[in-house]
């Protein structure tokens, strides 16, 4: 086979994307700068908005009720614009653990969590977490006790999902920002739970 070095020809979808984008720019439908700007905004977004909603819910029971009743409105209440998003928030409790997947593609509340991780879009995660959630969660390092039921949510149509994790023990008196920092992206998908950093042990001199 001919050695192409670092050269990689575009695949079908890459070629389609480039062609469509160049056509839209050439026809003046969008500008290059607008596309670059939108991509930069999307790439810069992480799970901070989702984490802020969780931290608020931990501190304010009335907000938590509103969050569980209407996730999209609760997002907007914190100033996060989520046009068209139909958000359902599912609550972890000592009696149930929730985990999110989109078995059909990669539906994900991007407006609140940013771009989904590669594994979320991968065929192994999508096909396995629905049929053996306990095994998959264990591979993420999360062991759910057998007595705690697991609810898998297939984000297969028009709704988007966010997990409201349980507040970790030992966080009494913490500020909203400090609490939010314990809520990682994976906690909001349900493949992890918030943990507080271990206190460094006092060193013996």
């Amino acid at each position: 086979m001919k050695d192409l070095g670092a050269y990689r020809p575009l695949d079908y979808f890459q070629l389609m994307e480039v062609s469509l984008r160049e056509l839209l720019v050439a026809k003046g439908v969008v500008t290059d700068d607008a596309i670059k700007g939108a991509m930069a905004t999307m790439r810069a977004r992480g799970p901070e908005r989702g984490a802020a909603m969780v931290a608020r819910a931990w501190l304010d029971p009335a907000y938590k009720d509103r969050l569980l009743a209407n996730g999209s409105q609760a997002a907007e209440e914190l100033g996060f614009e989520v046009p068209g998003l139909k958000l359902i928030v599912v609550e972890n409790t000592p009696q149930q653990h929730n985990v999110i997947v989109c078995t059909l593609c990669s539906c994900y509340p991007r407006m609140l969590l940013g771009i989904p991780p590669e594994w979320y879009k991968s065929r192994p995660y999508r096909s396995r977490v629905v049929r053996e959630p306990r095994k998959v969660l264990a591979e993420f390092g999360l062991r759910i006790p057998a007595k705690v039921p697991i609810r898998v949510h297939d984000s297969n149509a028009d709704m988007r999902y966010l997990v409201l994790p349980m507040r970790p023990a030992g966080t009494q008196g913490w500020s909203e920002d400090r609490l939010a920092a314990t809520v990682t992206r994976d906690c909001l998908i349900g493949v992890a739970v918030p943990r507080i950093p271990k206190q460094p042990k006092s060193r013996k001199s």
Binding site: R134, P149, R151, D154, N156, A157
Partner: protein, 94 residues
């Protein structure tokens, strides 16, 4: 196939077992299974029609349906109380 929801929360329903061609948002693995309506989500343009460049109207009522994992997967390992919840359009429910 109107926009009016005909099922209520708690109703036991069965997903149609069918394999039409086209863009279908009802995962194959859940077709033919029985579950319970968990909530009504509102009515949304039918994705199967949208994929054909049509308007998808009348909007189809969409439900979240809860299924017992033990009912869905033969030999499921895990708690008998484990569930999977999926959005099902009304025209996929019988």
């Amino acid at each position: 196939m109107g926009s009016v929801p005909i099922f209520s929360v708690g109703d036991r329903v069965r997903v149609r077992k069918a394999a039409p061609l086209g863009h279908i948002r009802t995962p194959y693995y859940i077709r033919g299974h029985e579950g319970v309506v968990e909530r009504y989500c509102g009515a949304f343009p039918n994705p199967e029609e949208l994929a054909q460049q049509r308007d998808g109207l009348p909007a189809q009522p969409l439900y979240r349906v809860r299924f017992r994992q033990k009912d869905v997967w033969p030999g499921y390992r895990g708690s008998a109380a484990d569930v999977i919840e999926i959005e099902i359009f009304q025209h996929w429910i019988e």
